[in-house]
Symmetry: C2
Subunit: 143 residues, 2 copies
DNA sequence: GTTGAAATTGATAAGCTGTCTCAAGATAGT
DNA sequence: ACTATCTTGAGACAGCTTATCAATTTCAAC
């Protein structure tokens, strides 16, 4: 197995272009990162502790930021933390959040995305990313 | 002067409902807050230093969070800081934010709001509030 | 207007997230 | 294998926000 992932090539190219090196840690973090929709540095730190107990939190931050520069990830402020989103899953970034129990439902709506582009264009903007969060009560919490 | 502001009543009601008290500081901060579209705690701290040199930063944070609970303000994370937006004065609006220069353009789009309701209903939610932010480059920063 | 229980304040310590420092170790071109 | 350069890990550090707590203020009941 271990087929050549598109993202791994993107990373390799980015590294070569900037005189950076491909390390064991960077490969490890990328592989784990690609398996998920969005993560925080802290989350990955705990996830990867099993595979490499000495992997430092600083390295994870550095690497996730590197992924952002390489165009593989996208940082987004969510609450007090920074979420790193997997770009290849773009379009799944919106959230429906229950203020009662904290449940988070992810959704996608092309029509809303289209209207966002429309608004941006009208104002001379080119959208890089967006964030849409709907807060309310889920069916269960309304009782 | 000192006419009765709608927001002051909203605050008074909220305070009464939660056994909280109306203080000189809360009045002062609300008055200053309502004059602006969005502020950070730090900004208000400096603005109000002239009127009350002993007003503490912690009090400003506490009070702005209180405004959020009362529905007068809405917190928004931008970069590493928290912006407090005045929503009760102009009604709800969404933001178009330039990642280059930080310019914030406000907009409103009924069609998007309608689609949001649709998504919520489909998932059994009843929306209380929402947040929509589009990040990108403004016409000026694209060069 | 006094009184007193309860909330609030100001000052600062503490907490949290993320970045910086630097010696030791890994990488990759030769 | 050698060497210049980059990276790592550990902890120190920095910026923003919240918690702590003694002193003060509010407000409702007298």
């Amino acid at each position: 197995m271990n087929k050549t992932l598109k993202e791994m090539d993107v990373l390799r190219q980015h590294l070569a272009k900037h005189q950076l090196k491909l390390t064991r840690q960077r490969e490890l973090i990328l592989t784990a990162f690609l398996r998920q929709e969005h993560v925080t540095a802290e989350t990955m730190y705990h996830q990867l502790a099993k595979k490499d107990p000495h992997l430092g939190l600083a390295t994870i931050y550095r690497t996730l930021n590197l992924f952002c520069e390489a165009g593989i990830a996208q940082a987004r402020h969510f609450g007090t933390q920074t979420q790193y989103d997997n770009i290849s899953h773009k379009g799944h970034h919106d959230h429906l959040i229950c203020t009662g129990c904290g449940t988070i439902v992810e959704f996608e709506n092309c029509e809303i995305e289209r209207l966002q582009e429309e608004v941006a264009t009208k104002n001379g903007f080119v959208i890089q990313t967006h964030r849409l969060e709907l807060y309310g009560l889920c069916a269960h919490c309304r009782h």
